[in-house]
């Protein structure tokens, strides 16, 4: 049985990994997009969206990752 706590742990670890990719200027656009897609997938799950958890930090991390990814495409 999947729990909200499990998803929050996943999101925390996933965003930490994404933040690290950005801070180290990772150039692998495909991989960065996969990570972002995965985080957004779990952020969209009903158990997560309907919870009382503060999801703001996760959204901030995703936004920063997208901005970095967009810059790589220039």
């Amino acid at each position: 049985m999947v729990t909200l706590a499990q998803y929050i742990t996943d999101l925390t670890n996933g965003c930490d990994y994404l933040d690290q990719m950005v801070s180290t200027s990772n150039q692998d656009q495909t991989r960065i997009k996969e990570i972002i897609d995965g985080i957004e997938y779990q952020l969209s799950l009903p158990m997560v969206t309907e919870s009382d958890e503060d999801l703001n930090d996760f959204h901030v991390s995703v936004a920063a990752g997208k901005a970095y990814l967009a810059g790589l495409g220039d």
């Binding site: 996943d10 990994y17 996969e34 990570i35 897609d37 995965g38 997938y41």
Partner: protein, 214 residues
């Protein structure tokens, strides 16, 4: 010694007529009262246990399974499922499996396999040596399928057909493992593995299946 033989000649000379059947042979009353009873049907005909082994039917299904890859080794996502007592007759020696799977975002990808916990070996797919997405040994000591689709989003894995010859009454399980980028070898990761809408089919099934297994 004289033997009575019922053959086409017997029918040709009017020995069996509609009138005889309708009036005497098998009547509704006989069926209800004596001939066919629930007790007679249950042990030999269709029971819950063997109904799922009808060729091409859903043999077994399971929803929502999760395992942490921080525990080293292959993670059991579903099962054990016990195969029937005569897999040659009921399943044509084949078991097909499809499910949705992913690993949470992080550095690792994932891989999967069907494992026989009775024999303690990997159940090989049909045509393992030439199977797209399959890697590993042909002797059942290793190997698995590389994930397909989006690695960190729930993605349906195409139905794969496994050779279960000789595995009568064996228990099998679905396993997942963190892997390298290509999904073709195992790696220990701290991410979480997810499997959902897992379907086991009796016999050969191929292609993509929707969330109800069809």
């Amino acid at each position: 010694m004289t033997r009575s033989v019922l053959n086409s000649a017997s029918f040709a000379d009017n020995s069996v007529t509609n009138a005889k059947i309708a009036s005497n042979a098998v009547g509704t009353a006989e069926l209800i009262d004596n001939n066919v009873t629930a007790a007679k049907l249950t042990p030999t005909s269709v029971t819950v246990a063997n109904a799922g082994e009808i060729l091409g039917s859903t043999f077994w299904s399971w929803d929502t399974s999760v395992a942490s890859a921080t525990n080293n080794g292959w993670q059991t996502m579903a099962g054990p499922v016990q195969l029937g007592s005569n897999v040659q007759n009921t399943m044509n020696n084949m078991l097909s499996v499809t499910f949705f799977g992913y690993i949470s975002s992080g550095s690792y990808y994932w891989t999967w396999r069907i494992y026989d916990t009775t024999d303690n070996n990997v159940v090989l797919p049909i045509g393992a040596s030439k199977k797209t997405g399959w890697y590993g040994n042909a002797d059942g000591t290793g190997g698995g399928f590389s994930f397909r689709g989006s690695v960190h989003n729930a993605s349906q894995q195409p139905a794969q057909c496994f050779d279960i010859t000789g595995r009568d009454n064996h228990n099998v399980i679905l396993q997942m493992h963190g892997s390298n980028g290509g999904g073709s070898s195992v790696s220990t990761s701290s991410q979480t593995l997810y499997a959902d809408q897992i379907f086991f089919y009796a016999g050969f099934m191929s292609g993509m299946h929707n969330e109800t297994g069809y």
